[in-house]
């Protein structure tokens, strides 16, 4: 009996050890390619990441692309833009649309087996972290043209001096208000924090909240809070400064006084827009991408910038998905990827994508065009040049942004639900961020 147990255990352990031989051991992508190189690859001795491929390489006619526009209408809209670039460059695009929350998982797993796509579109605050792993190639090495783009965008896409990701369109937030409701109450849209609160107070009645915003336990929570945070003069390198507490306290007051629903800690920005469109909120803080839906529903809305405490537009975080070119063993495909990215950044495609998505085109000249097409875009475009990258100055968190953002959104939730005071919540958050940042 004992002997049988021993044999069984031995088999189990031996089996497990042999299996560990075919485990997820990642092959570094910057090393020279293996000897069994495909016919179109460059000579095996050159490392693809550091030298421009020679003209002896045959051009690739197909690239793979991953993005997270997995739902309509964005899915069809992005497909349209991709198809136009296929027509323009002659390069076929094999596209995969992956649900947003799962994209990073898939990217990481694919990286272990060198199966990253040729063009990868990720959310801009994640860019630094992905670039830090060494998985991406500098865009300029593959012929991507960066002239005329917003300076803050280029900075957001840079890591250690090289540009790894650029977005064809960026987005931002503003205060969207219901003109009919404001007119009926004889109110002007707010320009200071005090006015935001008094307007919200006056408009909260009959099951309607004065204002709605989004504060869930995800990056969306930090994202929505950042205009108020930066507007008050706070900085991500110190989460418990008096200015930070002032900003958080402002939100806490709005909720505690009943001008904003307690459910804001549950809502995504999509939920917030649903509330606004259903007439459950007189004002909403939301992104420019909602313009097409609002215009389609024929809601009489107006847009004003999110204010600083005493007036003036608060700097908001830069939003948008950046195009990147992951390193691969096939320089021909990387070249083709560069061509596709260039096409997607061209004026024509940029304007088309930005119009379809209601984003701000990344080139200033094109952005002016989109305001001419839709005056509602004006507030957003004006704010674009001043937008701050979450990973960039002044805090310069780079790949460590998430380590600060997560304690921040937890603090926001703790304060809004009354679990702790704004000061206590932010102090705890700063402690957690500081300890996460120490290696």
């Amino acid at each position: 009996m004992k002997k049988q147990v021993f044999i069984l255990v031995a088999i189990l352990v031996a089996g497990a050890m042999t299996l560990s031989a075919c485990g997820p051991t990642a092959t570094p992508t910057t090393a020279p390619p293996a000897t069994s190189a495909p016919a179109t690859a460059a000579p095996a001795t050159s490392a693809p990441a550091t030298s421009a491929p020679t003209s002896a390489v045959a051009a690739a006619t197909e690239v793979s692309e991953w993005d997270y526009q997995s739902a309509d209408p964005q899915m069809t809209q992005w497909q349209k833009v991709l198809d136009e670039c296929t027509a323009a460059t002659g390069i076929k695009i094999d596209r995969q649309a992956i649900p947003r929350d799962e994209l990073i998982s898939k990217v990481l797993l694919a990286a272990t087996q060198n199966q990253l796509p040729d063009v990868l579109r990720i959310d801009n605050p994640d860019l630094q972290q992905v670039a830090d792993t060494g998985a991406l190639a500098p865009l300029t090495d593959y012929g991507v043209d960066l002239t005329g783009l917003y300076a803050n965008l280029i900075q957001a896409g840079s890591y250690k001096g090289k540009v790894y990701g650029i977005a064809p369109g960026i987005n931002g937030m503003a205060l969207i208000y219901n003109k009919d409701v404001f007119a009926a109450a004889n109110l002007q849209p707010p320009t200071t924090w005090a006015e935001v609160e008094s307007d919200a107070a006056a408009l909260t009645k009959n099951g309607v909240y004065g204002i709605a915003f989004s504060a869930p336990a995800t990056e969306e929570g930090s994202w929505q809070f950042e205009p108020w945070f930066w507007g008050a003069g706070a900085d991500l390198s110190k989460l418990d400064s008096p200015q930070a507490v002032q900003a958080l306290q402002f939100w806490v007051d709005l909720v505690n006084k009943g001008y904003a629903s307690k459910s804001v800690v549950q809502w995504s920005q999509g939920d917030v827009n649903d509330q606004f469109m259903a007439g459950k909120a007189a004002m909403q803080q939301n992104g420019v991408w909602n313009l097409s839906a609002l215009e389609a529903k024929k809601i009489n809305f107006g847009v004003v910038p999110i204010p600083k405490p005493n007036g003036g537009a608060a700097p908001g975080p830069m939003g948008g998905e950046v195009l990147t070119i992951p390193n691969s063993k096939d320089p021909a495909r990387m070249q083709a990827a560069g061509k596709i990215v260039n096409c997607l950044l061209s004026d024509k495609e940029m304007l088309e994508w930005a119009t379809l998505q209601a984003y701000i085109p990344s080139r200033q000249s094109v952005a002016a065009q989109s305001v001419a097409n839709d005056p509602n875009m004006k507030s957003f475009v004006d704010a674009a040049a001043a937008e701050l990258s979450r990973t960039g100055p002044p805090a310069n968190l780079g790949p460590n942004y998430n380590k600060v953002s997560q304690p921040l959104w937890n603090a926001i939730q703790a304060a809004l639900t009354g679990k702790s005071s704004a000061q206590a919540a932010l102090t705890a958050a700063q402690q957690q961020a500081a300890s996460a940042l120490t290696p």
């Binding site: 088999i11 299996l19 560990s20 990073i104 272990t112 990056e219 459910s263 996460a436």
Partner: protein
């Protein structure tokens, strides 16, 4: 039957002792061969991931590790980071409450409904099949419905409560730090009832009806029949249901994530969901693996204790 046994008893006396022993050994070997597909399967699909998880929990495993394969060994670093995090105690405490609460209510309600369905009435088969419907919708979808039901301002539950004049307050099921865990607990109980019900019903069905008939003749009422016949004979199945329930509840993820995301402010996180959030938001997977280790140890200990206790009972009842 008796006739056959007599004849066979005569036959069985014929073989010699060494022959019987070798037959028994071969027989046991064939029996063990039945285990081979499962053993291979287990080694390939479980032992390896578990060992890998244990290894990962002692390493600094970040996004970079996926790309370059580098994962420096940091000993107990991940465990230390987990335990010193202020939300750790909340997560552990929540896991205990959530697990005990889920198991208790899922089991008792599931058993009650299973006993109820023992009786034959029109449409009972069809209605019994309907009990599994909660499992047919993706958890994401049922989660979204529960969010709607629990909504403070527009939710059905608050609407019913207010209509019945129980209270005029809007109960903040999902956003009140004291209630969020209870809300996900309710949703989890709802999801677990069909599982318990179906298995316990099957177990009850396998108990021969003649036993109940004999007891009824002896004057036993429904409660006695349950305590002296159903419950003891149900023990192997009930043990299994509770043990599996323990494992599944400890692993619960989708339910909590689709309703409160562990919030607000981590008040409804269990060890599993909390470790996952921590891991994925900062892309540090060593932390998640470390939490997985802790959970494995907990289930290991409880499983061991329970099996030791229950195994004795099963042998007695089975034989």
């Amino acid at each position: 039957m008796a006739h056959v046994v007599e004849g066979a008893a005569v036959k069985a006396a014929a073989p010699t002792l060494p022959q019987v022993r070798s037959w028994q050994r071969r027989d046991r070997l064939i029996g063990l061969l039945f285990l081979v597909p499962a053993v291979v399967y287990i080694v390939v699909f479980y032992v390896y991931p578990i060992l890998y998880n244990i290894l990962m929990s002692f390493e600094r495993y970040t996004a970079k590790s996926f790309v370059t394969g580098e994962a420096p060994f940091i000993g107990l670093g991940n465990f230390r980071r987990l335990v010193s995090n202020p939300d750790f105690t909340t997560a552990v405490w929540n896991t205990v409450l959530f697990t005990l609460g889920s198991l208790f209510f899922q089991f008792t309600i599931g058993l009650a409904i299973a006993v109820f369905f023992q009786r034959k009435f029109p449409l009972s088969g069809f209605l019994r099949a309907l009990m599994l419907m909660p499992w047919l919708a993706p958890v994401l979808v049922s989660g979204a419905v529960w969010v709607r039901l629990f909504d403070m301002d527009y939710g059905t539950i608050n609407f019913v409560i207010r209509s019945l004049d129980v209270t005029s307050q809007h109960i903040a099921w999902l956003t009140d730090p004291h209630l969020a865990l209870i809300s996900v607990l309710i949703a989890n109980i709802w999801i677990g009832i069909p599982f318990n019900m179906v298995i316990l019903y099957g177990g009850l069905q396998d108990i021969p009806g003649t036993l109940y008939d004999a007891a009824a003749i002896d004057g036993a009422g429904p409660w006695e029949q349950f305590s002296y016949i159903s419950w003891p004979l149900l023990r192997p199945v009930a043990t299994v249901v509770l043990l599996l329930g323990l494992v599944y509840t400890v692993k619960v993820f989708d339910v909590i994530m689709s309703i409160t995301r562990g919030g607000p402010a981590n008040v409804s996180q269990t060890l599993n969901t909390w470790a996952y959030s921590l891991s994925f938001s900062i892309l540090d997977f060593g932390l998640g693996a470390a939490a997985g280790d802790i959970l494995m140890v907990v289930v290991f200990v409880f499983g061991l204790l329970y099996l030791r206790y229950a195994y004795r009972e099963i042998r007695e009842v089975g034989q």
